[in-house]
Symmetry: D3
Subunit: 245 residues, 6 copies
């Protein structure tokens, strides 16, 4: 089974962190490729970064699928470009946020998401609404922790996130925590031990679900909104992509 | 990894069918136990059968967990007793309907469920509502096919179900089909080939998600509605269950 | 008019309390039978107790209906086994929680539920969602008061519940209170006098609605999800129930 | 117990029909007053008739409450002026549509409403949404039968409504029917016998629920949106109403 | 373009304030008429005032439309009588609350409404629900400021409202404020400058949207719930209105 | 007032059509600029085209805003890149679909959207859900008319769309029609005359709402999800955009 995990931002150290997290949970028979785009934003914080990240990410998905990927994982908690990725590929595509929401809804009765910046809350809430999983989500909380500080100040990050988890369990009625950023993977186990509730990291969840879909031989439906793009002459900057056979 | 799959009805041939379907998708390192209750209804068609099936099924879950199960799958499309099963165990528990709904929502934009009897529609719709996945479900259709006829008249069953799938794709705007009964597992691939859209069998989906949760080391949250039952002296018929350590 | 009220737990003192509460509100021409199961949990706190309570309760409903009951009331605030009870009987069946929610939504604009243990919140919220009455419910609050302490320490119970009602009126924007446990019937009037807002006890509400349905000659619909169970050979522990004519 | 039933339109024959329907279901100890406004529309078909009907109806409610009414029923299927009526009275107020919706949701899994004119559909759907009971409603159907024809051509009315009920049971998945007009009371039993599913008339339902609320000693909450109107000098046409003590 | 703005209460100074606010935002080519009813409540605080205000307001709308109005604005934040006004006129009708909600949902991701009395909250929440815009509304807050004090104590009003806005931005996650009363128009700009987020006054929003609809030549649909009222003989107090050609 | 209308695809004839439609409804004092991206897809049909269209479109928005635009209109019925556009600009940004939905919800009780390809239905339904206006939308219908055929075969297009509108009015209970493509502007008036219900073109609606927001001096909120993007070094293809002062 060949899994492709794409970090939609251009920061190599984050890609490496994601690869490390993915390797810890991938099944022995999985061959994993972890990529990042050639161009785009170094981190995805808000709608604009998200929009600019998609074209470079789609290029990686096309390449990986041509090379035989059985499933793709988009390793950004905004599930950046997820619908477009599904429409451009035949293999299943899983976003790490949606994966975490799905798993959380099977482990507890209400989950709280603890993310980085407040500006990401409406993005995450919109996704929850579209997936339907807002019904199982108690609250989306921001720790006001910039993405790149997760790497540069891990202790401070742990402190701030821990504080939000404490409030989630006390104030939100949550019995399950979803960590709202691909860069928080390393913290999931620590928080589980500390708070004694399931703490779900999206990268692990995404690799898990992509593995499941690939093993079941599942493909993305081409009969509805994820139909292959119609061939047409794109202008400029983006080389016209060749359809995946 | 030890997976426990429980068929909540007492019909051995259905249990064998479920075991066969599960074996086809389980990963090589999974040790599977497939059980059925000692007492209860021979098939689950409606709310009453469902209610009477739960105590016998919970007994199997307690036994399997004591014997070291890492995850449980409830192999009835009504997700019979799912919440009670979660509260009584520490390992994760997955219902085959919820598993199918979750996977379907990652493969297409709208799915239709094709089930057996019309009396099951409100049960399935209630579950979809509680999970939030009604938002991705175009419709729940009944083929008016009694559960036990799936075994005795497979050709007629295939004909009737195929007809409903055809209508689902044409009338409901669905691009993905969920087969709404544990006994339909053998038909999923045939329908996929015929209709060229993802056709999801709950047993495969359930085994897939349970495997994922087990591999990730996930446990059911004990901090909310799935808290372990308080010890108290039950009267009569049911031997007081011993808490799982 | 013959009303059957079933306490789904096996604690006789609670059954007596429920009978006393019911008698206070029943119309003069009502003949009431108040029963409890022969087997099952002594109180219902969470999903597991609920699941084990249903078979014993259904037996009582079948007996009462055979004896001519015109309506049934399920006297547990989780509305334990309500759907199965409807499917097994022809007479209407009312849960005390749903009855309280329906009445509350006609007396105020938003109601808050004050229940016993936090683990019951997801059960109550799920029911509210399925009934649609979550839209009129401001919040479900837990006082962390174990069910059986309602009897053993009534003063402490009143103190704790009063505190939650105070917060509900101040913080939730509620103008109506629903007491979330069959054992709280005796407190409704006290709280009404103290807080000057409608305080609704489920037992009174349930008896009221069952009376209404019986007087109108209403029956449970047998055309959909509440269709009579199909005759089939149950295995073991549960004697196959004879269908109600 | 003193019940006040107000027909919000000015057509005496409809008021008499409502009184007849109410009498058939009222308990022996109920003293009923059935009124209609002095001024306003002769039938309520759409938003404009509804708006003009309210002031005259509120006058009747104030009079009846001053005379000691224990509960009020608004006998128009649009639940005309229901919120204002609650705010102006201390006794509980029940709309016949909401009463029918509440009872229907306890007798079946999905109900369909069969009303008169298509222009009433958005009014009924808005009410269902606000009450939350849209979640249990399969569909609102119009028979395109003008209200006043219910009296002048009962056979034709029965034919048209019967046809819609037939379709509701076949196409909507409904197992329960709500008759969507106060003037259809006489038909409920006939349709029940013919279609063998619960057929609910709002007048009966409303009288039943008002009786229940009155017997339980319930009052409308004055702590929220139904607080008594603030005393202030109204200008012209409407004599300033005197607050109900 | 002829715009008609109706203040549904009978207080002339409020009508003048509304006219002043409207004039500040109307396009140069708009001819504005600002009216108030001849009879009814001097302010609208709750359901009862609202119900009594409608007939007098509809009279003004009929007059203005006969005189050639291209669009109407109802200048009360409860959108009093909005549906009836649409049904009685051919020109488009805009409520100031709905207008503010629509604009707010295009300027930010979540808005909070700051209104006067708590009794208005359920009215506003019901409207938000019916319009669908509850999904973009973080919260409806009451400052417990009586409508008429907005005029008599503007400094105190500003203080109280400012305090609620502060809390909305901090506690609700709102990034946009809607002022919940026609009498707050003069404060919008001050609060914008102070809090640096969009602060939307309904009068300005309503005039803006009515202008837009009129310029586009839009008319209210007469094909559904807003169909012209059927001609019928009204009794007493209200002169039978002549249908608008 | 300076309005900027951006056609997010690269087809000049569509840009001209949009400009023509916009000019017909713009107020006399509006200075309009109509642009299209330098690179990207020639039409937007589905998620992939949409994703590739955004970067080129954002460039035009930055340019126009730097040049002093008071409001932007995104002239694609998928509201392509709307959230990113809002985050990157200070002026308000309006999508033509959302504009049409908002206006439709003020002119009728239920609207149906008639769009081009079925693959666009999930995109439009997702947007309706996020805006909340799904609650007023009866149905989204596809005519299976490719976008570019609107220009090459206008008679055939009119025939197909007219057929869908006919069905919408008959089957969906809609009383208002929204044309679901920027290229259908020229047909709105014809269909209005033919079907006698409001037929709303998004370009007209978008220009109307953008004008309103600009005239009111409104700005996009920078306090939540639309906060200005954080400055950071983008890699490759996209020149780092300079923040708008």
């Amino acid at each position: 089974m060949r899994l492709h995990i794409v970090n939609p931002n251009t920061t190599a150290s984050m890609t490496q962190g994601i690869a490390a997290a993915a390797r810890m949970v991938a099944p022995p028979d999985a061959v994993m490729t972890v990529t990042q785009p050639d161009f785009g934003p170094p981190s995805i914080e808000g709608f604009v970064d998200g929009a600019y990240a998609v074209p470079g990410m789609l290029a990686r998905i096309i390449e990986a699928e041509t090379a035989g990927a059985d499933a793709h994982v988009i390793a950004c908690f905004d599930d950046t470009g997820l619908d477009a990725a599904r429409a451009i590929s035949n293999a299943p595509v899983v976003g790490i946020a949606e994966a975490a929401f799905h798993l959380a809804s099977m482990l507890g009765t209400r989950f709280t998401v603890v993310t980085t910046l407040a500006r990401s809350i409406p993005i995450i809430e919109d996704n929850l609404l579209r997936y339907g999983l807002d019904r199982r989500c108690a609250r989306v909380r921001a720790s006001e922790l910039p993405v790149l500080l997760l790497e540069s100040d891990p202790a401070g990050a742990q402190e701030k996130l821990g504080h939000e988890i404490e409030r989630a369990l006390k104030e939100d009625g949550a019995d399950c925590i979803v960590l709202g950023c691909a860069g928080m993977a390393a913290l999931a186990e620590k928080f589980w031990l500390r708070f004694q509730v399931p703490v779900i990291d999206g990268v692990a969840a995404g690799v898990g679900l992509a593995t499941t879909l690939a093993r079941l031989g599942m493909k993305t439906s081409k009969a509805g909104g994820y139909a292959a793009p119609l061939p047409k002459p794109y202008v400029g900057a983006f080389a016209p992509f060749s359809p995946i056979p």
